[in-house]
């Protein structure tokens, strides 16, 4: 757990924070390169690598054909060879075309062949516009896969600090950036600010109950906290920042301290990572629980392109407020 307040440096967007971290690490390590579609001119769909090709050249930022399997394979083989590639899959939905390369190959090679596979698979994730093929929440699948780590930053500071860590570590990382956060500005750390994976961030301290969450739901939870505050309930919010490794120390400590815990995310709830968190935390801290850990998550349904339907399928401020009230009722 960390409660570091970001040190002021500038006020870039969430996407620019990614650029900043990647730039610094590319200067440090000449073997980092980026491969993905439409990166050179466009700078990626979310401007996440804008200007980097111009600065580092097209040997280090490569425009790819639409070949997700080959992109990951290229990353994998070159990582085994000694490079540290960032494979930019644009939307995580497209990783479904590269699952063998990710799950069977990249994740397993260190274990099988004792060879590091330093590869970052970056993509936007989360529910936004775009409908069923652009809003999959696949994070629980990656977190379930031995050999992969999963970052799910919710603010500029964490994006930069986590990508820097990922780029200094010889392991495969799935780096998921939430679409709805791309333009959100925030402070970022300096060249030496690395955030270790498995360290949650206390977004807001509280004294009555806790919400454990990540990604965009951190924002929804903060809004819910305001509503709750007006009703006299002071809720703590934990942003996990990475789903594997999980910061189980902070989770356990939080469950023990409050005994009233909500776990929230926007992935379809059946089988989501919130189940892992709730099940493991309940098992480890049963006697501290004042009542069951309550989960809130996405509907078991594909996402619709219609914004109202899509909104209705994920946790709302009111939904989180209700969940917290439920744990407060114990």
């Amino acid at each position: 757990m960390s409660t570091t307040t970001p040190t002021a440096q500038q006020n870039p967007t969430y996407s620019e924070a990614f650029q900043s971290g990647v730039r610094e690490e590319m200067k440090r390590n000449e073997h980092i390169f980026i491969l993905g579609t439409d990166l050179v001119e466009r700078g990626g769909h979310f401007a996440q690598v804008k200007g980097i090709a111009q600065e580092f050249g097209q040997d280090r930022v490569k425009d790819s054909p639409i070949s997700e399997a080959a992109m990951v394979a290229a990353g994998l083989g070159s990582a085994m060879y000694g490079c540290h590639p960032i494979i930019d899959l644009n939307f995580i939905d497209f990783s479904l075309g590269a699952m063998d390369e990710i799950v069977n190959q990249a994740a397993k090679i260190r274990f099988m062949f004792n060879r590091p596979v330093p590869i970052v698979i970056r993509a936007t994730s989360g529910v936004a516009l775009g409908g069923a093929h652009h809003c999959n929440s696949l994070e629980s699948l990656f977190a379930h896969t031995a050999g992969l780590s999963v970052a799910v930053p919710s603010r500029a500071y964490d994006v930069k600090g986590l990508i820097k860590t990922a780029l200094r570590t010889p392991d495969p990382v799935v780096f998921l950036m939430h679409k709805k956060l791309s333009g959100v500005r925030g402070e970022i750390g300096d060249e030496n600010t690395l955030i270790p994976f498995g360290s949650a961030n206390v977004v807001k301290a509280g004294k009555d109950a806790a919400i454990i969450t990540y990604g965009y739901t951190t924002v929804t939870a903060q809004k819910a906290a305001q509503t709750l505050a007006e009703q006299g309930i002071d809720v703590e919010i934990i942003d996990l920042r990475t789903l594997y490794p999980l910061d189980t120390d902070t989770i356990n400590e939080t469950v023990q301290r409050f005994g009233r815990v909500v776990v929230a995310d926007e992935a379809p709830m059946f089988g989501s990572i919130t189940a892992e968190i709730a099940a493991t935390a309940s098992e480890a801290n049963f006697k501290y629980l004042k009542g069951p850990i309550v989960r809130i998550g996405g509907a078991r349904a594909p996402l619709s392109a219609n914004p109202q339907m899509s909104e209705a399928a994920i946790p709302s401020v009111a939904g989180i407020v209700d969940a917290v009230k439920k744990v407060m009722s114990y």
Partner: protein, 327 residues
């Protein structure tokens, strides 16, 4: 060859309808009416209309993220298409799909797709279904030039060949995948040669000549119905607008766009031909343009006035519930 007058007018009107639809929808998207945005197909009308005019209405298609033109050419009323773009309850997918997920499976439209190349496999599968059932139909899969580098495309092509499926693959080759020029990412730079390598009749054709597109498709369809298997048609075309509405990339020159627009526009070419052959008068043409505009206006009106989907339905239709106990 002179063009049949009635047929020619129908073809021209379809292309005009698509063009007006796209230009109208583009503006509406910029005004925030189309959630998630859209991919404009202006310039590519001849591929859609040329192919569809050679098919039977009961033939099956499956297509891509850029599919308004295919969908309208396939016969879906423009008001239903527009309503879907608006994500209204009256849209073809009840507002669940928007621009990328137009479909009418009952009538052989097996859907646009958010995933590059996915429509090829779905159409190939439909062709397998057609063959299993002994029906006399074909299935057409549309894909962009960008989709030529996606493995799933070639798996599907191979399968169509070995099972001799009544399948036609149309590359709606507008030469760019987002901002990436086809020649930069396409090894060998000869898409039809790739098709030939997989053993099916493969052609690169002028996708701005609606009659050429029609002719090649018709022949492919006849081969398919005769049990001779699939065909591969790489239709060279061009999109006038950005990849998605609002995109203004620097990856191609204004001259290039102007050149395609002024010298190879499929509507201009075909209308000029009809007029020069006496099949169409200038007056008739203007009337046609006006009638198309009216149809699109009505579609916008329909879409605007249509209700939004009921958000309480978000769990409806995920599955049939017939497998067993559902809680």
């Amino acid at each position: 060859m002179t063009t049949d007058k009635t047929w020619g007018k129908k073809i021209l009107r379809d292309m005009l309808l698509i063009r007006n639809f796209e230009e109208t929808a583009d503006k509406l998207t910029l005004r925030g009416k189309v959630p998630g945005g859209m991919h404009n197909s202006s310039g590519q009308e001849a591929v859609a209309v040329g192919v569809m005019s050679a098919l039977d209405p009961k033939d099956v298609i499956a297509t891509t993220h850029r599919s308004h033109h295919h969908t309208i050419a396939k016969g879906m009323p423009v008001d239903i298409v527009m309503a879907e773009l608006f994500t209204k309850a009256t849209g073809c997918s009840g507002g669940r799909g928007a621009s990328m997920h137009l479909a009418d499976v009952e009538n052989g439209h097996f859907g646009g797709n958010g995933i590059v190349g996915a429509g090829v496999g779905i159409a190939m599968g439909a062709a397998m279904g057609i063959k299993q059932m002994g029906h006399k139909k074909v299935a057409v899969g549309f894909v962009g030039d960008g989709g030529m580098n996606t493995g799933r495309t070639w798996e599907a092509v191979n399968m169509a060949v070995i099972y001799k499926l009544p399948f036609i693959l149309i590359v709606d080759n507008n030469q760019y995948a987002v901002e990436t020029f086809v020649e930069r990412v396409t090894g060998g730079n000869d898409i039809a040669k790739r098709g030939a390598g997989f053993g099916l009749p493969s052609y690169t054709i002028d996708g701005q000549d609606v009659e050429e597109v029609h002719r090649y498709t018709k022949e492919a369809r006849e081969r398919a119905l005769a049990g001779e298997g699939p065909s591969f048609i790489n239709a060279l075309t061009y999109r006038y607008y950005g990849h998605n509405v609002g995109e203004k990339g620097q990856y191609r020159t204004q001259e290039e766009i102007a050149d395609w627009r002024s010298h190879r526009d499929p509507i201009d070419r075909f209308s000029a031909k009809l007029i020069s052959e006496g099949a169409l008068s200038q007056g008739e043409y203007e009337e046609m343009i006006a009638s198309v505009a009216k149809e699109i206006e009505a579609a916008v009106d329909f879409a605007e006035k249509s209700p939004l989907p009921d958000v309480s339905t978000i769990l409806d239709g995920v599955d049939s519930g017939l497998l067993g106990v559902r809680k």
